[in-house]
Symmetry: C2
Subunit: 426 residues, 2 copies
């Protein structure tokens, strides 16, 4: 028997899980303030659904875990939360669900791919999407939400913002041929990682002339105000410019100072059709993006394929990088109080229950360990307060609360629950 | 392409998911007050682990979803949270985890079995367990926690409590042969469902004489106080009696009036070694158990098999039946406020964001629908308050909050965020 974890999977033990719980609660609380509703979709999907025309192309299909049920149906484990989102809309729109549909989902996805640092085969995604709203107003609201969410998490961020049409307009204007566009986008996307020279080197290998690349990179240095003075007339540029200007009007009016116009931001995949953004840790404790988002007007439209259009925008929050930042900051005490009963089981449990009803996290020593042993374990677990409850304490009606951090004792009446709570929660 | 759900799976849409979120938050909050820590284990497991000696016997193995990864490792989807619990203890005890280890886990499990009403192939389990504590003190604490959890959920319950040794003592004392014991336990477990005659009929088919059955059923009528006056001397009975008496001393002292001694309660599986209990809806809106628990001192001990003993107690909360009771009671408003901007996008979004920071759930009409249409949709979604924000409102600095439930309007200064919150949250 293998008492071990499957390659690429792991368990979230309490120390980490407490941080993850806090992150998820903070995020969902924020999402709900902005009118996003919770959704929880099935992990098991028909393989045909996962292999349907959206998908991240055939690449991702290599990483789908496949299986069969007893009825010999071909199934797969979901590899993202976007396909389930599209499925739910398609199955329920006009009945259980009305457009615009704003939802969030936090759940596990599975990818049987190479296992690298920070990349697991079973991991959480956290997606917030809206289907059924065009234009930049909703994108501005999403950037507001992103700003508030990270503020509540206590992480200073900056947000790189761009528009895919604008980027394509720059590529076209540089004279790069249409069939090389995707390659250029994927390469430019690595700019922060491999630098201008790295990107240029990679693109030279596709036989793109140097002057074209120089022209492209000169565009990448423009500011939002420069856009009005650029002599570019292709329709991608014109449309992209209008969209990004409208968005930055909102950004300025809303004083979202963390947003930075970043004309080379591509955001990988080809799914995006307009605005894109990525979120970074201002302190650079993590250098990869903490999350990002963008508009994808075609995926769900093509996916459902019922003649209607389904313009959509979505954000992802990277639970793993966010937790890894906060795990280093937060000093989590798992319990507020340890009670050590000395032949006072009932009174101890009654006291614990009264405090629990008031919101105190109480653990009781139940293995009759010696006081010294129990105190050592309290220390190891960062438990800030301890009460040793013996018959003397009951007789005198007075207990002593040991403050483990300041090594002091506070005497208090055993029935004065309010006072005990006040001491423990201060 | 199949835009449909896999047989035996379903999506939790917002209306249901909101109730499930509330239930899970209430439960986890209670668990943490009692010193249980969160754990989140992997869904993918090595098949050998799932097939190891614990397991619910070979029956459950028929229902395991099996698959292979690209490295041809034989995997399975977890079918409960107990095996992962044992795995985590075995892998981490003495390092990341110290005994006693109190943890809760809420997560999906998978069983490829027959699909009946209320039985899905992908469903949630919610388990609260402690490993490393013997005796009835911890069981009494668990019953306290169960009582508080359902109180916070707003569900009146009663708890049937028994001891497996006591039940086995009764069976032995009735003269039923040892090899029939398991069959009798499984049959007696159906007593509430099929009645005394049903059980007797079933047991007669195993050639158990009527007088033995009559004797057994006469024991089932005893009260906790009767136990002291029964002339039974087998060691199962003696041990079981001591344990259940000790537990009921705690129950009485803690005034857990929802607990009822139920000498025929078996709680199905053969895993339990001492105390068992099941929780029922007092109002019988759901007749099957909402959850239950019990002591299982051997499973983890046998599973880890390292020479140490791992006495354990665990409770399950039935997320599905609990939610189905609460869905009928709760009238959930998904949003607190709808703002309809009339050429006031920025001011509307700023107002919304200020209210969101104060905890109000705000949704903004972003598709420029006619006011009438937007109000109709607010009505349909039970949104209690609406603000139509036009240029007049900005000029006069005054907005009108429409109370959709009482069909009244309240005028208020647009900058008086506190007052607006007060109106919406009252």
């Amino acid at each position: 028997m293998k008492l071990m974890n499957v390659k690429g999977t792991n368990d979230s033990l309490p120390n980490n899980e407490i941080v993850k719980r806090k992150v998820i609660n903070t995020l969902t609380d924020t999402f709900e303030k902005f009118g996003y509703l919770p959704l929880d979709t099935s992990i098991l999907c028909y393989y045909d659904l996962l292999a349907s025309k959206y998908s991240g192309g055939s690449e991702i299909l290599k990483e789908v875990y496949t299986l069969k049920d007893q009825g010999e149906r071909k199934l797969g484990l979901r590899y993202d939360l976007t396909i389930p989102f599209a499925k739910v809309i398609s199955m329920n729109a006009g009945r259980e669900i009305n457009l615009p549909f704003k939802r969030y989902e936090i759940g596990k996805v599975f990818r049987d791919g190479p296992v690298k640092t920070g990349r697991a085969r079973e991991f959480y995604q956290c997606d917030v999407d809206v289907c059924g709203i065009s234009g930049s107003y909703i994108e501005a609201e999403m950037l507001s939400m992103t700003s508030l969410a990270y503020k509540k998490l206590g992480i200073d961020i900056y947000i790189e913002v761009n528009n895919r049409k604008l980027l394509e307009g720059f590529i076209i204007e540089s004279g790069i041929s249409d069939e090389l566009k995707s390659k250029v986008i994927l390469s430019v996307d690595k700019l922060a990682k491999i630098g201008e020279n790295g990107v240029k080197e990679e693109l030279s290998s596709f036989n793109i002339e140097e002057e074209k690349l120089d022209k492209l990179f000169s565009y990448f240095k423009c500011t939002i105000n420069d856009l009005d003075n650029m002599n570019i007339t292709n329709e991608y540029f014109i449309e992209g410019r209008e969209e990004i200007k409208e968005l930055f009007n909102y950004i300025n009016d809303l004083n979202l100072i963390e947003c930075r116009f970043t004309p080379y931001l591509a955001r990988g995949l080809e799914i995006y059709t307009g605005t894109v953004w990525e979120v970074f840790d201002e302190k650079q404790r993590i250098t990869c993006a903490l999350g990002g988002g963008g508009r994808y007007d075609k995926i769900i439209t093509n996916f459902i394929d019922d003649g209607n259009t389904y313009p959509s925008v979505g954000i992802s929050f990277g639970i793993v990088p966010i937790c890894s930042i906060l795990e280093d900051i937060e000093n989590n005490s798992l319990y507020d109080l340890l009670i050590i009963p000395m032949n006072t089981n009932i009174v101890s449990l009654k006291l614990a229950n009264k405090l629990r009803e008031k919101g105190v996290k109480v653990i009781i020593e139940m293995n009759n360990r010696k006081i010294k042993k129990a105190l050592e374990s309290a220390d190891k677990n960062n438990i800030p307060y301890v009460i040793v409850l013996g018959e003397n304490e009951i007789d005198s009606n007075t207990i002593e609360i040991k403050d483990m951090i300041h090594s002091s004792n506070i005497k208090v009446n055993i029935d004065d629950i309010e006072e005990i709570c006040k001491i423990i929660k201060r």
